[in-house]
């Protein structure tokens, strides 16, 4: 079902006109309101009036996650703080989070995008949506919540975790739709079987899954186990949160991007050169309607390609394929973004530990696990077991508190983690994705 017939099926030439008009307004706006953009445009020698066509977008400089960090917390805001009605945050590459703000209109836009997402998955009025995305600073929970309310579904804001309660509500409330990470959907299934729940007794018929990369093989597994339609969604909090891209139940092949709100490009991550549609590269977004924190050519670091073929569902928008990798070292562990540098920032504060560490990511019983191996520092070795145990527990707690992911810290012998000549090998990802 199409939520917004006018914009989702808008003829492409009309859409391009709309994009250009909005892009011009955006560039004019940020140039005058955000010192960061004025400075970066001036450095690149571009003035707002130079943007005469959509191709001129390529003249604008990229925006990076680091820029958001440099302007922490509110330096990238294009509106006075009193117009900001919501603030979310996601992981930064080190200690400080990446902050995003929303005006009242941004919150409406986001709800609109998630309404399109839910509708495309076949969720609508009369459905009971069990929203098992985490609520809080993370954008997943509230993003899905507002969109589902907008389409008139009954939302259960259960948030993540607590599988037995999830199953109880799934059964007793007769939830027809669920939103969570795909790995959690599989993990929840295992618990359902253990609890003796019969899948055919449930009313669940559709799942809206995202916040971590997953494969079509995983989709088939989820669909056959739960006997539902499983749809992929894409989003990142910098751009707006979930709702940036969404699959339609008609094709389940690529996520539609709401081009009336975003301009998407794929680029060569090394050279920055824009690639022809269909070629694999890094996704870059320009938010053309966002007010609080508009982003110009934001480098997502997600690698994928675009599909420009028309879709059976009738939407005219371009689609993005599943994300196949990253152009940086970010990991997604149980839906949480984790950068090795965040872990490193914690380790270097401990004088008993060396900066030689390795993150080992695996998937056990459909749940991601993280083990952090850290070498003891040379010369400060302690002979007491309790001190070493306290030390690893302290690091585990700090990682949980700062990054939000549960891990196991294993202290290892000096020089047991492989040294590399060039870029250090910090991650061993054993998951088969």
């Amino acid at each position: 079902m199409i939520w917004n017939q006018q914009y989702e099926t808008m003829p492409r030439d009309e859409l391009r006109k709309l994009q250009l008009m909005r892009l011009k307004q955006l560039v004019e706006n940020v140039y005058h309101r955000v010192p960061f953009y004025r400075c970066s445009f001036d450095k690149a020698g571009v003035k707002p009036e130079d943007i005469k066509s959509l191709d001129d977008l390529q003249r604008l400089p990229f925006t990076y996650k680091q820029d958001m960090r440099d302007n922490y917390p509110f330096g990238m805001f294009a509106v006075p703080q009193e117009q900001v009605v919501r603030i979310h945050a996601s992981s930064g590459t080190t200690g400080k989070p990446t902050v995003v703000g929303y005006t009242a209109r941004d919150v409406d836009t986001w709800a609109e995008l998630m309404a399109r997402t839910m509708s495309a998955a076949g969720v609508g009025r009369g459905d009971i949506l069990q929203n098992a995305y985490g609520y809080g600073l993370f954008t997943g929970g509230l993003g899905a919540h507002y969109g589902a309310e907008k389409i008139g579904a009954s939302v259960i804001p259960i948030s993540g975790g607590n599988s037995k309660k999830q199953l109880m509500l799934l059964k007793d409330f007769g939830s027809t739709a669920i939103s969570c990470t795909p790995s959690y959907a599989l993990s929840l299934y295992e618990t359902a079987i253990e609890e003796g729940i019969k899948i055919e007794d449930l009313k669940l018929r559709v799942g809206v899954f995202g916040a971590e990369p997953w494969t079509d093989a995983m989709r088939q597994e989820i669909e056959s186990k739960w006997q539902i339609d499983a749809l992929d969604i894409y989003g990142l909090s910098e751009i707006i949160g979930p709702g940036v891209g969404y699959e339609c139940v008609e094709e389940k092949r690529g996520m539609h991007i709401s081009e009336d709100h975003f301009i998407v490009e794929t680029i060569n991550p090394d050279t920055g050169e824009v690639l022809p549609a269909g070629e694999e590269g890094e996704l870059v977004f320009t938010t053309i309607t966002k007010e609080a924190i508009p982003l110009i050519r934001y480098r997502t670091r997600d690698i994928t390609s675009l599909i420009t073929d028309p879709c059976k569902c009738g939407r005219s928008s371009v689609r993005m394929r599943k994300v196949t990798g990253r152009s940086d070292d970010m990991l997604i562990i149980r839906g949480v973004n984790v950068f090795p540098s965040q872990v490193e920032a914690i380790i270097v504060t401990k004088q008993e530990l060396s900066p030689h560490y390795l993150l080992i990511v695996d998937r056990v019983d459909n749940l991601d696990t993280l083990e952090v191996q850290i070498e003891l520092a040379e010369g400060i070795f302690m002979d007491r077991i309790s001190r070493l145990q306290d030390l690893s527990r302290a690091v585990e707690k700090e990682i949980k508190d700062m990054i939000g992911v549960t891990c196991k810290v294993r202290i290892v012998e000096h020089k047991t983690i492989a040294r590399s000549e060039g870029k250090a090998m910090r991650v061993l990802d054993k998951r088969k994705l």
Partner: protein, 143 residues
């Protein structure tokens, strides 16, 4: 009245303990006493050897995670209550024991307890004052 203990951090992997023992053996280091404390992930091997300086260097040169700690060797009377006398004195003087382990002299004439204290100097002073026999490193190394 203190002696040097060598500690080696060992991950729980098969053959790792052998590596340590073999290396020391090949280099003519004789182990006088030892204790092993372990968790599910790692263990700490504590050793009293005939030549702590050289043992430390050999282990370090071979990339082992090794440390040195000062411990105290106390003679234990070979009769019921012998150990309790020492522990009673420590308790009266509010001295905490981090860990301890025992060994018997090759002649079998007396038992020796190795103590690791938080406050080593205070322990040495109080135990001496209470009349216990502390055995110097030179004697233990050369047993």
């Amino acid at each position: 009245m203190k002696l040097q203990q060598i500690s080696v951090f060992i991950e729980n992997q098969s053959g790792r303990l052998y590596d340590v023992a073999n290396l020391l053996g090949q280099n003519g280091i004789n182990i006088r006493a030892l204790s092993l404390a372990d968790t599910s992930d790692f263990g700490i091997l504590r050793l009293i050897v005939n030549n702590p300086e050289s043992a430390y260097k050999i282990l370090k040169d071979n990339e082992f995670t090794v440390g040195r700690t000062e411990v105290v060797a106390v003679e234990v009377k070979d009769r019921p209550g012998g150990l309790a006398e020492i522990l009673g004195a420590l308790s009266r003087n509010e001295i905490n024991v981090e860990y301890m382990y025992a060994f018997v002299e090759p002649t079998g004439s007396r038992a020796i307890m190795i103590f690791r204290f938080d406050e080593t100097d205070k322990a040495v002073e109080k135990l001496s004052a209470e009349g216990f026999t502390l055995i110097p490193g030179s004697k233990i190394y050369g047993i």
